[in-house]
Amino acid sequence: MKKFTVLKGIAAFMPDINIDTDAIIPKQFLKTIHRKGLGKSLFYNERYTEGYNKNVDFILNKDPWSNSSIIIAGENFGCGSSREHAPWALLDFGIQCIISNSFADIFFNNSVKNGLLLIKLNKNEIQKLSELAMKKESFTVDLINQKILVKNNEINFNVDPIIKDRLIHGYDDIEITLKNKQLIVDYENNKNKFHIWKNIVYEKQ
């Protein structure tokens, strides 16, 4: 996983609430067997009128926001399906950080596992940042010091220390878990917790 320490870039403001994963990456793009290449189709239904003809009114089609690396979004961003294609598409487009009042659970987990930083702020802070984003100001997101810096403004944010550690170092979750391999084996052998009736015995075909 790519490491995340300090990000400098432009922020696009998408005020809608409940931006769902169907909107982030529609179903026709889920047939891929790869992680890469989805950025082109990010927000497809809003971003394009037909084929890949750009909808000029959509924020990510306007300069300088076509080069955004940050999105400031309405609440409950990422609700809906569990498709990890949503963070893959965002990252493939170049988005590395999303700021909102709230995020849906599965989307949140999927994002941090791919190095996409999600920041929860209160509505006043989001209001302030959205105004600066609309003025095309440059944003600095400093994960190490947990600060967002824009012009003369400084906003602190909270982040789960485990997630922070993982993002800064780009850790692989599976590798961390496999270090505890013996604990998993012990659990499987613990008759008080791992009940024998849970075992699956295949029927003879």
């Binding site: 769902d20 239904n45 809906g80 498709r83 599965i106």
Partner: protein
């Protein structure tokens, strides 16, 4: 005395391997379902890192999301879309290389992953069940802790049979009362979500309880738990009882003989203790509940069939008002419109929400002897091969065919339109599925979520019908 525990706390406790951090735990996963859309990148990840599947026998695979619902006897060759076909071929190859059991497209047991899990007895109480699909919450109807995961987590489960999880909070939704005739558990969950909203459940596991839940069949409970995710919840949960045990007895993957007895002994303890504390609680009485229909592009946009579409102006919250205005514009509707005046072009009966035998029975029973309106194309997509076979043996297929419905092969179909079953732009659909997001069933398509009875009745009339008042 021990501190009283919720049902969720009990299941959670028995699956904690260790605490990895503050409020974060390594959790054992007992059952894993995989399908073609969210698994290829996980298997690719395993291969790249030279890792093996830890317990292949605890995973079960099936293709459901992108498969066509016609010409199933041709198996994989029924998929004309090359990219979709490659995805199913990749699933088959990955499962075979890793010794994971697969239910092929041509098997009578094939179907939507959340329908076949319970049907095969793969879903059982007291277990943790995951799948790379948000509607995994369905399996909570059996008193199992079941939740949707992303592809990175699918890979993690394959490699370790565990997941690192933050412990969710406890929420209880109590539902009491006897439903009116032709009002269903679908109407209940649409009502609940319309009241509490799509983000209310975020970070929570919802336990459903109350007299209505006790009266429900397993199918009705599955519909309810299925849409817990639409309330933002991690999972839905219902305490197992004799109905649960009767449903599972003798199914292929269910425990057998001595193990069955041990299982029942344990499953009977899976109830919330008296005095257990919930972080949040809601209560509903559904005696007077009318059939529900959604009018917007979020599952929380539901109203009773006899209510008028709300006026955005009545909302003081600017974001909310704008979101409703945007929804109404997309849906081609106006504040104050009555749903009963709105004509539809498509009807979809199926999905992991409402593609079970009881759903088809209820719908067929209501429309028997009637004809689908000439303006409407109506599809019935049974949730699995077993549902289809059962419906055929009961004469349900004939009722639908004689009425002018199309009788299809099992799959997710028009719920998400990954296969050829889609809405054209501007088409309006009465759908028994779970999401009415913009473009979900096809770009520009307009989805109204309803119960199977409302969907079937609306197919006959050509517009939305109050099935508690009108007969056809």
């Amino acid at each position: 005395m021990d501190t009283p525990k919720t049902l969720f706390d009990k299941i959670w406790g028995d699956h904690v391997i260790n605490q990895t951090n503050k409020n974060q735990y390594l959790l054992y996963i007992d059952r894993h379902l995989v399908h073609e859309v969210t698994s290829p990148q996980a298997f690719e990840g395993l291969k790249l890192n030279k890792r093996k599947v830890r317990k292949p026998e605890l995973t079960l695979g099936v293709a459901d999301h992108n498969v066509p619902t016609t010409l199933r006897d041709q198996g994989i060759n029924s998929i004309k879309d090359k990219i979709a076909k490659l995805q199913v071929e990749t699933l088959e190859k990955n499962l075979s290389e890793n010794n994971i059991k697969y239910i092929p497209l041509t098997s009578k047991n094939q179907g939507i992953v959340h329908i076949i899990g319970p049907e095969q007895g793969f879903t059982i109480p007291g277990t943790t069940i995951v799948c790379g699909d948000s509607h995994t919450s369905t399996h909570g109807a059996f008193g199992s802790l079941a939740f949707g995961i992303g592809t990175s987590e699918v890979e993690h489960v394959l490699a370790t049979q565990t997941l690192v999880q933050t412990k969710p909070k406890n929420m209880r939704i109590i539902i009491n009362g006897k439903l009116k005739k032709n009002v269903t558990s679908k109407d209940i969950i649409l009502k609940v979500i319309s009241e509490i909203g799509t983000a209310a459940g975020t970070g929570h596991v919802i336990e459903f309880s109350g007299s209505t839940i006790l009266d429900m069949t397993m199918e009705e409970r599955m519909t309810l738990c299925n849409m817990s995710i639409e309330a933002g919840a991690k999972a839905g949960l219902i305490a197992p009882d004799n109905k649960t045990f009767d449903y599972l007895y003798g199914l292929p993957f269910a425990p057998k003989e001595k193990n069955w007895e041990l299982a029942i002994e344990y499953w009977k303890k899976l109830v919330t203790d008296k005095g257990a504390i919930f972080d949040q609680e809601f209560s509903f009485n559904i005696e007077e509940l009318k059939p529900f229909v959604t009018w917007g592009t979020s599952p929380e946009n539901g109203i009773a069939i006899n209510e008028k579409i709300p006026d955005p102006k009545q909302y003081n919250n600017l974001e909310k008002r704008q979101s409703i205005e945007k929804s109404l514009n997309y849906m081609g509707l106006k504040a104050g419109d009555s749903l009963k005046d709105i004509s539809i072009q498509k009807v979809f009966i199926g999905s992991c929400t409402n593609g079970r035998i009881e759903d088809l029975r209820a719908a067929a029973n209501y429309i028997q002897g009637k004809k689908v309106s000439h303006n409407v194309q109506a599809l019935v997509v049974p949730g699995s091969g077993l549902v289809k076979k059962q419906a055929e043996s009961e004469g349900i297929k004939e009722i639908f065919l004689e009425a002018g419905f199309e009788w299809r092969d099992p799959g997710c179909s028009m719920c998400l339109g990954m296969n050829p079953d889609q809405l054209a732009s501007g088409e309006r659909c009465a759908s028994t599925s779970n999401r009415n997001f913009e473009g979900r069933q096809g770009r520009g398509g307009r989805t109204h979520l309803v119960s199977p009875i409302t969907a079937a009745a609306s197919a006959i009339k050509g517009f939305f019908v109050d099935v508690t008042e009108e007969s056809l």
